[in-house]
Point group: C2
Chain length 242, copies 2
Amino acid sequence: MPKSIYESIYKDLKRRIESDEFAYRELLPSENVLIRNYNCSRNTVRRAIGRLVTDGYVQTMQGKGVRNIYRPVEQTAFTIGEIESFRESAIRNGHTYDTKVLLFMELTADESLAEKTGFPAGAEIYYLQRLHFLDGKPLIINHNYFLKECTLGLTKEIAETSIYDYLEHTLHMTIVNSRRIMTVEKITEIDEKYLELNVEDYNCMAVVTSYTYNSDGIMFEFTQSRHRPDYFRFQEHAVRKG
Amino acid sequence: MPKSIYESIYKDLKRRIESDEFAYRELLPSENVLIRNYNCSRNTVRRAIGRLVTDGYVQTMQGKGVRNIYRPVEQTAFTIGEIESFRESAIRNGHTYDTKVLLFMELTADESLAEKTGFPAGAEIYYLQRLHFLDGKPLIINHNYFLKECTLGLTKEIAETSIYDYLEHTLHMTIVNSRRIMTVEKITEIDEKYLELNVEDYNCMAVVTSYTYNSDGIMFEFTQSRHRPDYFRFQEHAVRKG
DNA sequence: GCCGATTTGTCCGTATGTATC
DNA sequence: CGATACATACGGACAAATCGG
């Protein structure tokens, strides 16, 4: 169940837009109509619309109305601006997925790892290497570093299904936000081996480096995600600021 | 001058955070303090903070406060979630820049171009190829397609300085939002020639494809931006949604 | 061009709920 | 438990942009 009125309105409008209830470039019902339909105050409706704007679903035009500018996300696209696990993304796009844990170990962050990840030196860390398959094809190698004190009890078995499920539902951690950096890097032998790539073909990888925070403001995860270049696709929505 | 109270508060807080007035992980003044400091209502302060949250500058914690989680953007990073021209980005990061127009022509969109760009078939288009230099180094090749009816009077000379300046200040167009897709593609001969790349070294490019809309909800620009992989760096902030 | 109706944008004050300390 | 801090929601007022008559 939704936690708040504005969120349920946001989700309902989002669903209606995604299900083509409004044509591309068509105007949505005016705020006054929505107020009557949802039986709530103007601020509440406006808050829901505000989220649709930042999501890139609609565009507001003073004096005119709210225009639907939603375009369906193309297949195998990862949506930016939202934290989503590989599993969630695969499900959303209607694919089959599989995860193989290549390595699971515990280590203590030394100076060089601390520098690289942003964890304090001396911190206890779970280090994982995982290979992700989409529709049977190996597409991504993830190097995950989790702060042990925030993710106690993580096992290889959990890592094979969904770590985020475990963190959110078993440990009741709330994952809040994440800073991500996208770069292109040279392919390594590990990449070549597990992703069945040919250097003649592609000698680079798309790399997404992310720093993820929980609701206590603690950075509990550092991940380097190495994507097969020919299947890599990220989509985002940007706004022009004054 | 700022158009509104909440925006000036947003900018002031942003400036104070960027200038290290608050330590990393430190709490900002509480809403009640900010209300007194800025002499405004609670909603106005909350709105400013809300924008800082979506920008990834702060994290709010119910019952606790608002925590500064801002990390300075690393050099040569393009900030995602914000539309910024090459020139603006270079200035922001304190670099010198230069733009060379390789090609400037007018054309009519045929079926295949319409399919690729999303412009209606038959539309009159300005097509440009531009090479962007940062600190004297050629880093990006842009293929720009502008809808002529929205960008009348565009010339090669304008394209050598700033197209966005012309659109916003001379044509008084308001640029609103943009959908961007990031992929990795094989290098072409043009890339190799102008970016002084060696295929032995890198045989891929980071490609950003963007569809940009103005305040009338018209898509007036389609651009394919091909980046030198070793200098490509995009940064974004993501939030976890229920 | 003007005017009134409609629609979105900004701002305020207040009340209540929930989490933290 | 009370004080503090953020979260949600309501209602009202006025401004600014658009559109039709």
